[in-house]
């Protein structure tokens, strides 16, 4: 529902979409937290000197979805636990 609401806001150009903010949700504690996100000037994709300028980095790795049901945890530095469809 959060994604749908954000999508509608972006499409209509209304309100303040979650750009530069990460909203985390803990259902057991029923708590929402907001983490401010900044652009990383050293980001390999959108930084000042990008090293990723096309999608070739995604070639050579195993088929993108071979690990379909398998990608659910955040990297160590993640602000909150993470991913799963």
């Amino acid at each position: 529902m959060i994604q749908a609401t954000e999508a509608i806001k972006v499409l209509l150009g209304i309100g303040e979409p979650l750009i530069g903010r990460l909203l985390t949700y803990d259902a057991l504690g029923m708590r929402f937290r907001e983490v401010k996100l900044r652009r990383d000037p050293k980001c390999p994709l959108c930084g000042e000197h990008p090293t990723i300028t096309d999608l070739s980095i995604h070639r050579g790795a195993a088929d993108a979805c071979a690990v379909s049901d398998n990608g659910h945890a955040a990297p160590a530095e993640a602000p909150a636990a993470t991913p799963r469809g």
Binding site: G20, L22, R38, I52, A78
Partner: protein, 306 residues
């Protein structure tokens, strides 16, 4: 008695004009300008410039306050050829609006320059009823609803995250929805993936999802994409959409979507969930960080629990 020519000349002395290319630049730069189409509603419906509001010349003095309450708001007016709106701009100046520009050559010149125009089909009685609660919201209104009906959204994944998102967007009247997923419905999905139901176990998720969305709202044109997003198909697929929603369940896809959306200039509404915890953010190219600003590289495969 003044002639029309004299009135126009008088208006031109106080109202600056800009051509289509200059006005387009201002819109693209995100300047908070108010664009007003002063033609009659039937002319407007036939084609207009996004994101114009239609206030016919005859109602301008009465309704301008609703569109621009602050006299310093930058306003651009246009009509069909640029003459009616020149006189209308002069009126706004007289009312005290300081920053009024007339689109030189009007809609006609804009369209002839090959710049994008938008055409609205009138809503039918069912649509007026279906979206009536949206009309009550000043931030949406009939204009916002038309915009939603013209919008094209791509959903990556018709699973746990994609299911509620697809249903809400369909209900809200997003006109075109690409639904992409290569999986089939499994009984174990149904406890959370509410886009699918028991009789559809074993069928491709996009088929099941397409039926559900069409039943919910026949206004939505669903484009079923029964395949996985890959490095080879991603650019070709996302180019047709205004916005991408990432409801994928693995890091490879997440990074692929992040990179592809950034390179294609598409906003990516990101979400992920694990057990009882979830997170969401909007990755808008050049307006905010991308996923790699948070996590530059994917975690090594061994570190990822299932």
């Amino acid at each position: 008695m003044k002639t029309l020519k004299e009135m126009l000349a008088e208006a031109r002395q106080v109202v600056p004009e800009q051509g289509p290319a200059d006005v387009k630049k201002r819109i693209d730069a995100g300047e908070p300008l108010v664009l007003i189409d002063v033609r009659d509603p039937d002319e407007y419906r036939d084609g207009f410039i996004e994101p114009a509001t239609n206030i016919s010349r005859g109602f301008l003095e009465f309704r301008i306050g609703g569109a621009a309450s602050d006299p310093t708001t930058p306003i651009v007016l246009y009509c069909q050829s640029g003459l009616r709106s020149m006189l209308a701009s002069k009126v706004l100046k007289d009312l005290g609006y300081e920053n009024v520009t007339n689109l030189q050559g009007g809609f006609q010149k804009w369209a002839q320059s090959g710049l994008p125009v938008v055409k609205d089909r009138p809503m039918n009685a069912d649509q007026i009823q279906r979206y009536s609660r949206h009309f009550l919201l000043s931030q949406v209104g009939e204009k916002g609803q038309r915009k939603l009906l013209r919008s094209k959204v791509l959903l990556i994944g018709a699973g746990g995250l994609g299911s509620p998102t697809a249903l809400y967007l369909a209900a809200a009247g997003v006109g075109t929805m690409g639904l992409m997923d290569g999986d089939v419905v499994d009984l174990s999905n149904l406890q959370r993936q509410i886009l699918h139901n028991t009789p559809n176990v074993g069928r491709p998720k996009v088929e099941s999802g397409t039926e559900m969305i069409r039943a919910l709202n026949p206004d939505v044109n669903v484009i079923p994409l029964p395949t996985r997003i890959t490095v080879d198909n991603v650019m070709d697929i996302i180019k047709d959409y205004d916005l991408v929603i990432d409801g994928s369940d693995n890091f490879d896809t997440r990074y692929l979507m992040n990179d592809a959306c950034y390179l294609a200039g598409k906003t990516n509404v990101h979400g992920s969930i694990f057990q009882f915890e979830g997170m969401a953010t909007v990755l808008a190219p050049n307006q905010g960080p991308c996923y790699r600003c948070l996590y530059p590289t994917p975690p090594p495969p061994g570190l990822v629990p299932s």
